[in-house]
Amino acid sequence: MSTVSMREALRQAIDEEMARDERVFLMGEEVAQYQGAYKVSQGLLQKYGEKRILDTPIAEAGFAGIGVGAAMVGLRPIVEFMTWNFSLVAYDQIVNNAAKMLSMSGGNFHVPIVFRGPGGAAHNLGATHSQALESIYAHIPGLKVVMPSNCEDAKGLLKTSIRDENPVIFIESEVMYGEKGEIPDGEYTIPLGVGKIRREGKDVTIVSWSKTLAHVTTKAVDQLALEGIDVELIDPRTIKPMDMDLIVESVKKTNRMVIVEEGWPFAGVGAQISHDVMKRAFDYLDAPIERVTQEDVPLPYAHNLELASLPSVEKVVRAVKNVLYVS
């Protein structure tokens, strides 16, 4: 095992896959000469040259579409959005072209592309630069959505995503790029659609992912442990297809669930998980499922309002106690 930062882990994934398969290339704003807006692609231009590490103009729809076109005829592009907020400019290319090409073309053309970049809130960035958009991608048939919460998963999942024949939405977190974690040595991949139990427990199931898991939920879990509440914490790792079996099995054991996510509540990912668990584990539920989400408002600039809007340790603890009928 070695200790690396999240950005290093991601870089290793891209580097290894580019070395392994010459069809893989990276394009996005500032990925080449600038060495990456968040330094994820640092050093790759020097290693692979301009042909395979490309700086694009600020034209998300344009270069996302170029990626899709290249993938249709057999290349394997990695398209970086500087943040996932900007992906909205390219939403048409992702939804109407990447996601649907295989189906619309009756199986003629598939699109092995990875769209990646950081998503979610950081600090004081304001409403348009802080969005957690996984649900509007998970909603679209034809896309896969992946969200790692730690370095080991980040590298293994990105490698698998690059090898996947389908368009993959890979959402990182800028706040985590500098965080260190252990990764195995040598070649390893992690399959998509397989979640992980981060902590076994018997009192309540919590499902959480990405930065929210790493920064908020784990702290809440520790606090609850001090109060004698034993949480089973699940990290789905892939949002779509989601490892619902793992979650259902856990709820059958604990009889209660809280979902903690950064997205907005209406039609969010947690709403989908709630429904599936309700449907499959109805007779095992001792309390209604609770969600801790971002408030249903655009995220404000002022930090205190930001904190009030985002999931917090306190909100998680309260939700857990609600489902345990403990005051």
Binding site: N255, P265, F266, F282, D283, Y284, L285, D286, A287, E295, D296, V297, Y325
Partner: protein
């Protein structure tokens, strides 16, 4: 060959068109590609070309006329050709082609929705409405452990029965919320369970509307005791006194159908069959499972059925026709040592028999004091339809039957 000219589909949402103007007349020669008619669709005014060459033999839908898409609007053919088959076959302005089943409405109207409140709305707590609330898990556990969910108080919000309430019920076997002794000097409030509420309403209604009177009789139980011993020596199933009393009531009620009536306001339904309800205590109330047609059933069958019914009554697994529809009820508090008591009639029945304990006491036999075993039963009756003499006569026959248990055995 004559061909039908049909109303074309000129837009994705069009369902019918209006003929604006025929540019050719009947009898005109038509070449393929000629514009022959102008049609108004739901989107625009369009021209229709002829797809065939011939003569415009017939205009079926004139200018100003409306026709659904696919219907016949004209016929092109050779001069003099017989076109009747086309005219007849065409489904005139009837339904549109089944392939293109568009909605009858034109373009969907945008539905305006009021803007939602800025704060994510929280569900409003509903007031208690008497509905049993239990988590799905609690329901399942109650079924698995054969507990009566109705009688378990819920400690969840709005009185919801939840897992820990089931666990408490299983371990403590009490219906109070705390398994430990109450603190003296304090009060606690117990929310009425649904079954309690029902009993409250019905008993109040009965007492307030039916004028009750009570007649008591004392029965010598020694013959019945001997009878029972004999039966239990032979048969495996253990006959109880309740079975004997039930059978006695059934036979006596057949002789006195006025006591076996259902009060219907302006009339009484006198049944010539007896469905006896036997009161069974539950943790938070009582229920009366019914043995139907007791007059036809032997004591053994009554025993068998009652066992099963009481069992299922306690686990809340009775079907509606097993606790509804009795013509008479028996209530027994003898197991608590109660000598006698007066029960409240179960509407719409007209009487109820309250059974006390079998008591060993001095009795007079053949002018001597001896040790005997007696039981006191009290008939509560609805005086609107039962008079004192009727009640007394019924009890007299009941006493006779129980004191002569051979009469309870089927002769025919």
């Amino acid at each position: 060959m004559a061909v039908a000219v049909k109303m074309p589909k000129l837009s994705d949402t069009m369902t019918e068109g209006v003929i604006l103007k025929w540019l050719r007349n009947e009898g005109d020669k038509i070449k393929q590609g000629d514009i022959i008619v102008e049609i108004e669709s739901d989107k625009a005014d369009m021209e229709l070309e002829a797809f065939d060459t011939g003569v415009l033999r017939k205009i079926v839908v004139p200018a100003g006329g409306k026709a659904p898409i696919g219907s016949l609007i004209a016929v092109i053919g050779e001069a003099g050709e017989d076109i009747s088959s086309i005219l007849q076959a065409a489904p005139a302005p009837a339904k549109a082609e089944p392939q293109r089943s568009s909605s009858p409405e034109p373009a969907p109207r945008a539905v305006s929705v009021a803007a939602p409140a800025p704060v994510f709305p929280q569900p409003v707590e509903q007031p208690i409405d008497g509905r049993l609330k239990a988590s799905p898990l609690a329901k399942r556990l109650a079924t698995e452990h054969r507990l009566n969910l109705q009688s378990i108080p819920g400690s969840g919000p709005l009185g919801r029965v939840i897992k820990r309430d089931i666990e408490a019920a299983l371990s403590g076997k009490t219906s109070s919320r705390s398994p430990i002794a109450v603190k003296p000097g304090t009060t606690e409030e117990v929310i009425l369970s649904p079954i309690r509420k029902t009993i409250a309403a019905r008993m109040a209604e009965s007492k307030q509307t039916a004028p009750h009177f009570y007649v008591t009789i004392e029965i010598d139980m020694e013959p019945a005791m001997a009878f029972r011993t004999q039966l239990n020596n032979v048969f495996e199933a253990k006959i109880s006194f309740t079975d004997i009393i039930a059978k006695g009531c059934a036979s006596a009620l057949m002789l006195h159908p006025q006591v076996n009536g259902t009060f219907l306001g302006d009339k009484v339904r006198r049944h010539h069959y007896v469905h006896i309800g036997v009161a069974v205590a539950l943790e938070d109330g009582l229920v009366t499972p019914i043995v139907r047609n007791c007059e036809q059933k032997g004591i053994g069958i009554i025993n068998q059925e009652l066992r099963d019914l009481v069992d299922r009554a306690r686990t809340r697994k009775l079907k509606p026709d097993e606790y509804q529809g009795a013509t008479f009820t028996i209530s027994n508090l003898g197991m608590f040592g109660v000598d006698e008591f007066a029960a409240i009639v179960n509407p719409p029945e007209s009487a109820i028999l309250a059974v006390g304990a079998i008591v060993e006491k001095p009795v007079v036999k053949n002018g001597q004091i001896a040790v005997g075993h007696t039981m006191r039963v009290t008939l509560s009756s609805d005086h609107r339809i039962i008079d004192g003499v009727i009640a007394a006569k019924f009890l007299q026959d009941l006493k006779k039957m129980i004191e002569n248990p051979a009469s309870l055995v089927s002769i025919t």
